[in-house]
Symmetry: C2
Subunit: 201 residues, 2 copies
């Protein structure tokens, strides 16, 4: 809407993206803690002054990178999924499908979970975000016609799904997106036959 913002936001965002990308690559190369601001600007071919125009320090960059990726993950899954008395296990539910797509699209970032000295908070906040998505996006009330504690069920399935994701990522995305999804579906079929949403009316 504001012309001045629109005209320049592209440049600013572009620059910040380059710093983020540099941070990702450098973490893989040398680990997070040993990275200096100088390393980042050298890698991204910017002047050190430029870095401080955009970020207070390395920590702020790291936090913005993590927050933006997890935010993107959340927003990429779309609207809450309401099956409405319908068996859905013949194909992966849309939110999980979108999660897989988003992670694959940004695999360069998510590969950071393979590293020990990596983005602070990644190893805790990534699975938490998966769980949050499950909690917010799924509206089920019974599983296989049996009422269940949905809070427990969502936590269980979210972390189970996270475990599979982690394995997929750590193995370097050997399976295609489609094969991985298929694998998850097959697994799900073995113990979940239907999920139901009991509508109000």
């Amino acid at each position: 809407m504001n012309n001045e913002q629109n005209r320049t936001s592209g440049r600013q965002n572009r620059t910040k993206e380059h710093f983020k990308q540099a941070l990702i690559d450098l973490i893989k190369e040398q680990g997070y803690h040993s990275i200096t601001v100088k390393d980042i600007v050298d890698y991204a071919s910017y002047n050190r002054s430029t870095f401080y125009i955009h970020y207070q320090d390395k920590i702020e960059l790291a936090e913005e990178l993590l927050a933006s990726m997890l935010q993107g993950l959340e927003t990429s899954v779309g609207k809450p999924y309401v099956p409405g008395h319908k068996v859905y296990t013949s194909k992966l539910n849309p939110p999980s499908f979108n999660i897989v797509s988003y992670i694959y699209k940004n695999r360069n970032f998510f590969e950071l979970i393979n590293y020990d000295d990596t983005l602070p908070g990644l190893h805790t906040r990534f699975p938490q975000t998966i769980l949050k998505i499950y909690q917010e996006q799924f509206i089920f009330e019974t599983i296989n016609q049996i009422p269940v504690n949905m809070d427990v069920f969502k936590r269980y399935t979210a972390y189970g799904f996270y475990g599979l994701l982690q394995n997929w990522i750590q193995n370097g995305f050997k399976e295609t997106k489609e094969d991985f999804i298929k694998e998850v579906i097959e697994l799900t079929k073995t113990h979940i036959y239907s999920v139901e949403y009991i509508g109000k009316k």
Copy 2:
């Protein structure tokens, strides 16, 4: 040397690199021919005018990309290799090793050989460059103590090596750099026992 050039060349090069990277990604997404200048600047988040500051058209960008990568390949192999009466087949000769490293480092680019509608000239000029390197870098006169036509020998081994490289790239770099190199060494051992350079004095 020139201060004014040094200060600004970083910014220019950075921008051009972004256009090159955008072109690589877009070729993989939609093929070379359907890409427009607008696609490139949109993808790289630049204004269309900026593109024309740096390049005349898409073709010039494509040619510069190809030329710079093949130039980098050539210069990365280092000095001419002179074994001097020494058996070398226990390890890969340095030039080939450097070629493998360079390709792996720039695998994002070299993956373009997997595509049909790809960078014009890539499929012909890439192997030609390998051959050129072999022709310029190797100074051998006998193989297994037998004098050979070096022109024929270099062409034969260069294209053989190229075939292995292509397979490695097309399979998504499944083998590590080290494993691939080991494989080439083992193959070489089966038919080449020694190469010699007959010095003048």
